[in-house]
């Protein structure tokens, strides 16, 4: 089995963290999706609405923590799938590298969108 040489840890920590972040995300995703899709509605969202919301530090903190938990949970989930299906250590390392580099780029893009201080538009 190629599994033996691939990794030294049992994955117990990531297994545990997947459930912890999952439990947090349960509430975060219901709040985020509920507010944007049911209460505000996608058709009522605009640049000004978005920056007004992100000007509130609580909203900023919520969206940023949601970003971190969601990307960690997603990357960790894909890692589990890679571990299950890619047995050859070299290919697994290649797949994990693509995953983590890709997720880092997505994280930076998300951080830029949430953290950058935007200016409202005066029409």
């Amino acid at each position: 089995m190629a599994y033996k040489n691939a990794t030294s840890n049992s994955g117990a920590v990531s297994w545990y963290l997947q459930r912890i972040t999952g439990a947090i995300l349960f509430f975060q995703v219901l709040f985020h999706f509920g507010v944007y899709h049911f209460i505000t509605g996608v058709s009522n969202i605009s640049y000004n609405v978005a920056i007004e919301r992100l000007a509130n530090p609580w909203w900023k903190m919520f969206e940023f923590s949601f970003l971190i938990f969601a990307l960690y949970h997603g990357a960790n989930g894909i890692k589990m799938i890679i571990d299950d299906y890619i047995g050859v250590p070299g290919w697994r390392l290649a797949a994990l590298t693509v995953l983590y580099v890709g997720m880092f780029v997505v994280f930076m893009a998300g951080t830029t969108a949430i953290i950058v201080i935007h200016k409202p538009v005066v029409y």
Binding site: V29, L30, F38, N48, A70, I78, A113
Partner: protein, 111 residues
């Protein structure tokens, strides 16, 4: 091959919806990144989201989120609470709760 038994379909659907949600979050962050490019770029993205195609995708997204979230609760109950005593009722109640929440939610998203 796998033996087909209770929870197997849930396991597959959890992975499939999980992969779908990862693909979604990449697209979503790419879209929201346009806020850094100014009002026109951002509002153009929102205008694209308000087309019928994206309305249908939104309902698929809602289905994936609800199944993954509710089935995720089932997994946590199975692993940490006394859910392991009631594995089968947990599986079918996952589908019932997801189905009810989806039908009600999809109605409000569509109308």
């Amino acid at each position: 091959m796998y033996k087909w038994r209770g929870g197997m379909l849930s396991w597959i659907l959890h992975r499939v919806s999980g992969i779908g949600l990862v693909i979604f979050i990449i697209i979503h962050i790419e879209g929201m990144f346009h806020i850094a490019k100014g009002p026109k770029a951002f509002n153009d993205v929102i205008a694209m989201y308000n087309t019928p195609l994206f309305k249908i995708l939104e309902i698929f997204l809602f289905a994936a989120i609800m199944f993954h979230a509710i089935n995720g609760i089932r997994i946590v109950l199975l692993d940490f609470a006394s859910g392991s005593k009631y594995p089968k009722p947990l599986v079918w109640s996952t589908y019932i709760v997801t189905g009810v929440v989806f039908i009600i939610g999809a109605y409000f998203l569509w109308t």
